[in-house]
């Protein structure tokens, strides 16, 4: 029995750490996304960051070789989305949707002549969180540390567009090559949505509960993928969604009772 636990721990420690690192910044960012009502924006910006990663894939080795290019692409994408949101506030969600689909289509065209194209596309979408090693995490760790420091010094800074959009673009573009677009999007939205009712009711522990949802979803997804022998990224996505749904229901019961 102990053997099994040690085994599980040693296999899953690295991906668990990577997931935690992403949660640290994405839970507060997700609250902002929900507060601003711009849910599709993450998908769009992450997709453009992914496109940037693909475009620069041949320029070096390692998951972060093209990080500055994907970050630049994500910043440009965030700028585009912010501008669209101001210029046509009524059609904002529709335009962001088109930015997402346009980015996805461009990515498919770009890799269509590449024998490893399907692999690269899938890795960016579903992510290979299991392959994560310490060397591919340090840049994300630095970004997260800076973001957290900013949050402590100026808690209200994220409310300003000029801080939120660049911070969002940079962190998302650093997370996507490591965890994949689906998992990054879920880490952003699911915990924030799971505590939506608590936050609306002004519950002081809403943020902690959001982190708890993230950690539990991550643990359940990783453990489930270990026990059922399935790819880990999609398993964590589903576990996060389930955890958020259950938490939301529990919160509703508690608030009523």
């Amino acid at each position: 029995m102990m053997e099994g636990v040690v085994e599980l721990g040693s296999v899953l420690a690295a991906p668990f750490t990577a997931g935690l690192l992403v949660l640290v910044s994405h839970v507060p960012l997700g609250e902002q996304v929900l507060r601003r009502g711009i849910v599709f924006i993450d998908l769009a910006i992450a997709q453009i960051a992914a496109l940037g990663v693909l475009l620069t894939a041949g320029w070096g080795n390692g998951p972060f070789s093209g990080w500055w290019m994907s970050t630049a692409a994500a910043l440009a994408g965030a700028g585009l989305v912010a501008w669209l949101a101001r210029a046509w506030p009524e059609q904002r969600e529709a335009l962001i949707g088109l930015v997402y689909v346009g980015g996805a289509a461009a990515a498919i065209l770009w890799v269509s002549a590449d024998p490893h194209g399907a692999q690269k596309l899938r890795a960016l979408l579903a992510g290979d969180i299991l392959w994560v090693g310490a060397d591919s995490l340090w840049l994300l760790a630095v970004g997260t540390a800076l973001f957290t420091a900013l949050g402590f010094r100026h808690p209200a800074a994220l409310n300003r567009d000029i801080v939120f959009y660049p911070a969002f673009a940079i962190l998302v573009s650093l997370s996507v090559p490591v965890l994949g677009l689906y998992l990054v999007f879920t880490a952003l939205i699911a915990p924030a949505l799971g505590v939506h009712r608590l936050r609306q009711a002004g519950h002081p522990r809403a943020r902690s509960a959001a982190y708890a949802i993230g950690v539990i979803g991550l643990l359940m997804g990783l453990t489930g993928s270990y026990l059922l022998d399935t790819p880990s990224g999609p398993a964590i996505v589903l576990a996060l969604i389930a955890t958020a749904a259950v938490s939301s229901a529990l919160a509703a019961v508690r608030l009523r009772g």
Partner: protein
């Protein structure tokens, strides 16, 4: 899990402490883990194989070993998704048998580094690459350059469908097993002898049976069957892939159709894991059968052994040959 949640929730409500039920949930997960992952290994050797054909060989030569195959016949061995079980299986392995020649270049190095098992690192005695020291076909696999769609610089790695090469790999596996497990050396060697005697008889039988196929042409997707065709002296007239690894495109299929119309092949051949649509389109246009063949042993059915696999491949090709329409 549902019960645990409900109980925990009731308790949590009584104390008005939201963290209580999170704790119970974590305990429930931990319990699931303890229950599921703690199965002790009793087999003498743990063998990890990248592809199922090597698992089948290992099973014949070391039936008492615990064998884990990373891929199955319906998966493309060039590209697999990371699953936790892969890491723990390779971590436990005493011997890893892979094809090599770049076939697993997209995932094996990462798997080796995450597993951190010194016994199966590149260069260690516990890693056996089947294509090492074998003469590989130098087809399109070899000639295209990396940006133009190259997967394997070392030559065509899909050797498993030439039974003569399999015999050589079997001998190397038996040697390696004997080196890693000296106590069982004699039994590995004697099993190999029995296996080879049976296998060589089968090879002769297969070659006799496949005589009518001699000189026939086929169109196939990727060069996964190239060694089978070479052995049976069939001729692969064209590849559905414009460049190895790049999925068939419309213009490439049109070109193939134009070229093959006057002299249609025996069949269009695809592997189980490939998208059947391009092959079906071309086969329909040429009015020849589309053969979806296993390129390795399958999980069940008659093709779950290597012997059954070759029986099936030759029988299917012969059936296509027998049904062929007379030339117009």
């Amino acid at each position: 899990m549902v019960h645990t949640l409900t109980d925990a929730q009731n308790r949590g409500r009584g104390h008005r402490r939201p963290r209580r039920w999170w704790g119970s949930l974590i305990a429930a997960i931990a319990l699931a883990v303890f229950g599921g992952a703690g199965s002790p290994a009793q087999a003498r050797l743990n063998i990890f194989t990248c592809e199922p054909e090597w698992a089948a060989l290992a099973r014949d030569l070391a039936p008492e070993a615990k064998i884990f195959s990373a891929t199955h016949a319906r998966q493309d061995p060039h590209d697999i998704e990371a699953r936790p079980a892969l890491i723990s299986a390779l971590r436990r392995a005493d011997l890893a048998i892979c094809t090599g020649a770049g076939l697993e270049a997209g995932w094996l190095p990462m798997l080796q580094s995450r597993a951190g098992n010194a016994r199966v690192m590149t260069g260690a005695a516990g890693l056996l690459l089947a294509t090492d020291a074998l003469p590989l076909l130098e087809d399109a696999h070899h000639h295209a350059s990396r940006d133009k769609g190259h997967i394997h610089a070392e030559g065509n790695p899909h050797i498993q469908l030439d039974p003569r090469l399999l015999a050589r790999v079997a001998a190397r596996i038996a040697d390696r097993l004997a080196a890693l497990d000296p106590g069982g050396a004699a039994s590995y060697r004697s099993r190999l002898e029995v296996w080879l005697a049976d296998w060589n008889t089968r090879i002769e039988h297969w070659q006799q049976a496949a005589k009518p196929l001699f000189g026939e042409s086929v169109i196939a997707e990727h060069s996964g069957f190239a060694y089978l065709f070479r052995w049976l002296e069939l001729y692969q007239a064209a590849d559905l892939e414009p460049v190895p690894g790049v999925p068939p495109t419309v213009s490439h299929l049109q070109t193939l159709l134009q070229r093959a119309r006057d002299d249609p092949p025996l069949a269009v051949v695809q592997a189980l894991y490939q998208d059947p649509q391009p092959g079906r389109w071309l086969a329909d246009k040429l009015a020849v059968p589309l053969l979806t063949l296993p390129s390795t042993v399958t999980a069940d059915g008659s093709t779950r052994s290597l012997q059954g696999l070759f029986d099936h491949l030759i029988r299917t090709l012969l059936a296509a040959h027998a049904q062929r329409r007379p030339p117009r």
